[in-house]
């Protein structure tokens, strides 16, 4: 058992799978010699060599095209899109090619492919390098979407993603790279499509993803001091979605709050609110509340960025107010 940073956990998860299966390769911009622009692939070139850890030009379409071809011909590639914002320049490959191939070949061709990417804000990178775009991904049938919030989950979910025979979009949160957590020694394999109850509670269910998980936990601590016992669930996987855990929790507490970093319209919480309204309406003891970034491009200025992305204080205030009305 060792304390590991989120960024080191990425490399550890990839290394675990590359060591296990030599079909696993890594491809992306600056991931080899530089160890990744966010230092999430440090040591992999040295450990696995330049044939399996490949730097590319600045060309996202080339990265995904190469990764897709490799997956179609027997490898299990991990491709990196440095900033998730850059998915916009290679989205045709994701949405039209990678997501559709298994369906359009009647299952004859599978794409065991992981696309890892740095997602989310809080680092003052501005409107084009800070977005939370996991809801773009979950809108496309044919890909799985996962977002770990702890170093342990990074390792376990990376292993599960690599072992999936279908394409997985693996959203690392840039704001969490420096965070630390205990990771046991030995092989770690998690399962996709499972949420985790981070804090059990009885009065309200708070769903969060990525960087919003520690903030939701901070809010729950504040609320505990005000007599509100909130349950915090780390959604972890948007596709597939662990509706069993989510609906079970809402059934118990009767109250649902989603904490989303994405801009408000069509954020993942909207889909969950819809499912909850349909599946456990009779358990609700009040309206569903979504706590999100407003529907705006993210500002670069620190004070402004801090203002618009949901904070622990904002979550606590919203929950408390809702439970008192």
């Amino acid at each position: 058992m060792a304390e590991v940073t989120y960024r080191d956990a990425v490399a550890r998860g990839i290394a675990q799978e590359m060591a296990r299966d030599d079909r696993v390769v890594l491809i992306g911009e600056d991931i080899a010699g530089a160890g990744g622009v966010f230092k999430t692939t440090v040591g992999l070139l040295e450990q696995f060599g330049p044939k399996r850890v490949v730097d590319t030009p600045i060309a996202e379409q080339a990265i995904l095209g190469a990764a897709m071809g490799a997956a179609m011909t027997g490898l299990r590639p991990i491709a990196e899109i440095m900033f998730s914002d850059f998915f916009a320049v290679c989205w045709d490959l994701v949405a039209n090619e990678i997501a559709k191939t298994r369906y359009m070949t009647n299952g004859q061709v599978t794409l065991p492919l992981v696309i890892k990417t740095g997602n989310g804000g809080g680092l003052r990178f501005g409107a084009q390098h800070s977005q939370s775009v996991e809801n773009w991904a979950m809108a496309v049938p044919g890909v799985k979407v996962v977002t770990p919030s702890t170093p342990l989950d990074v390792v376990g979910l990376m292993a599960a993603a690599v072992r999936s025979d279908d394409p997985v979009l693996f959203f690392e949160h840039k704001g969490l790279y420096a965070s630390k957590g205990e990771v046991p020694d030995g092989e770690i394999v998690d399962s996709l499509g499972t949420a985790a109850i981070r804090r059990p509670g009885t009065n309200a269910t708070i769903l969060a993803l990525g960087l919003m998980v520690p903030r939701a936990l901070g809010a729950a601590e504040q609320l505990a001091g005000r007599g509100i016992d909130a349950e915090v669930i780390d959604v972890r996987s948007l596709v597939p979605l662990d509706t069993t855990t989510i609906l079970g929790s809402v059934s118990r507490t009767g109250r649902l709050f989603t904490v989303e970093e994405n801009p408000r319209l069509l954020g993942w919480g909207a889909e969950i609110a819809s499912i909850v309204a349909e599946e456990c309406f009779w358990d609700l003891d009040g309206p569903v509340h979504r706590i999100t970034t407003p529907h705006i491009p993210l500002p670069s200025a620190d004070s402004l960025e801090d203002m618009v992305i949901p904070s622990a204080d904002a979550v606590a205030t919203t929950v408390e107010k809702a439970l008192q009305s």
Binding site: G254, C280, W282, D283, S325
Partner: protein, 440 residues
């Protein structure tokens, strides 16, 4: 020019009123001072008149809707082409208990309408509470909400299960009928079927109608009275033979001379008021702080009146200053105003003691309910001729006398049984002497 018609302030303490009936529709022409609608408040029912002549342009509050004083009810003015006659505004005003809508604002004239104090809003239940109520066989309407804004919480439902004898057996005979967990529309249908079985006493031919505003006020007040005071009733028997005889002797002549019909109630009021001066504790109240006694300098006598709409208690201000004739006259006047629904709003509050005639329909006595903050209410039963043992100069005799039971309910927090009995003894003695001739 469009003149807004607003919910009037009917009495100092009145905060809201209910639109009971529109007398005109959109497009109707009204003259100045013509009645436009009828409203009902906690104190009084009345008409609202149009201050101007013109056309009813818009009706903004539907019948049976309760709104705050000052709320715009309608617009009267010159016909405007933009407004099509015969189309009342469809959007009801925003109920006050709803959280303010985020993002959108109601546009136009509706946004100018103050929030509604909607009694129904208090009875909105969350899906969870409804489902729990059905599962547990609890009727939600009587459950008192302790949640935010008076909402019924799931815990309130569970408390109601343990507290009340709800017809749980109706459900438990077929427990499998309530699916767990209930999901989807089939479950909803099933719940609706279950709802009808929760209230087994209600048949298809039963009639349901909303309580009138007055009925609701009476209902709230009597329950509140019993819940907030310690009520005890003491009864004495009063020999009214002399008073009855005096009244018989005087009443026709008096009515001819003064136009006032002398009633037994006037005698009872007179005796009750005189006794209040001797026993000021019965003409007192407990201050809102709960530990200060307020002794009222004047006697303001509430007189309970049975009206077609229900019980109304108009108050005779400074009744202690009136003589017998004055009491008879004024009791008759306020009773008449109350029966015809024309009692002024401030005429219905501010009493310090209440008199109620239980006997007019033959009842011997009852245990009246206090009208807080008053601490005493005297109820007079039917006057009946009864053989009574009399003692005179050491001898006993049986005589036929006009007898009545007087029941005094008092707030035991302030008044002990002995004090109540002393008060009743004074009333009894005063009436049994029958010496009221000087008052006439």
């Amino acid at each position: 020019v469009r003149t807004p018609i607003t919910m009037p302030q009917l009495g100092e303490t009145v905060a809201e009123g209910t639109v009971t009936r529109w007398l005109h529709a959109v497009g109707d022409t009204v003259r100045a001072q013509e009645a436009l609608l009828e409203v009902s408040t906690a104190k009084v029912d009345t008409e609202v008149r149009s201050p101007v002549s013109g056309t009813v342009l818009e009706i903004l509050v539907f019948e049976d809707t309760t709104v705050a004083v000052g709320t715009v009810l309608a617009l009267v003015g010159e016909q405007d082409n933009a407004l099509v006659p015969g189309t009342p505004a469809h959007a009801p005003p925003t109920p006050i208990n709803l959280p303010a809508p985020t993002g959108t604002k109601l546009a136009g004239v509706i946004s100018a309408v103050p929030a509604v104090v909607d009694d129904a809003a208090r009875h909105r239940h969350s899906p969870r509470v409804r489902r729990l109520a059905i599962e547990k066989g609890v009727a939600l309407e009587p459950v008192i909400g302790t949640g935010p804004g008076g909402r019924v919480s799931p815990e309130d439902v569970l408390r109601a299960v343990t507290a009340a004898d709800q017809p749980v057996a109706v459900l438990t005979d077929e427990p499998a009928r309530v699916p767990e967990p209930m999901r989807g529309s089939a479950a909803l249908r099933e719940m609706q079927e279950t709802v009808t079985r929760v209230t087994p006493t209600e048949g298809e031919s039963d009639r349901r109608e909303p309580m009138s505003p007055l009925r609701r006020v009476v209902a709230e007040r009597v329950v509140s009275s019993l819940q907030t005071t310690a009520q005890l009733t003491t009864v004495v028997e009063v020999d009214l033979t002399r008073v009855v005889a005096l009244r018989e002797r005087m009443k026709d002549d008096l009515e001819r001379r003064t136009g006032v019909r002398l009633t037994l109630t006037a005698f009872c009021a007179m005796a009750a008021l005189e006794a209040l001066r001797l026993h000021p504790l019965l003409n007192a109240s407990i201050d809102q702080d709960g530990h200060t006694v307020v002794y009222h300098a004047s006697q303001h006598l509430g007189v309970a009146v049975d009206t077609p709409c229900g019980l109304v208690v108009p108050v005779l201000r400074d009744a202690g200053d009136l003589n017998l004739l004055g009491l008879a006259r004024q009791i008759a006047e306020v009773a008449q105003r109350a029966r015809t629904g024309r009692a002024g709003p401030d005429e219905l509050t501010g009493g310090t003691f209440t008199l109620i005639n239980t006997g007019c329909r033959g009842a011997l006595f009852d245990t009246p309910i206090l009208n807080p903050p008053e601490v005493g209410i005297l109820s007079t039963g039917a006057v009946v001729e009864r053989p009574v043992v009399l003692r005179h100069d050491g001898d006993y005799a049986i005589a036929i006398r006009s007898m009545a039971y007087f029941a005094l309910t008092y707030d035991h927090r302030l008044v002990d049984g002995a004090a109540a009995a002393r008060y009743l003894a004074t009333v009894k003695a005063r009436l049994e002497t029958g010496e009221f001739a000087a008052e006439l």
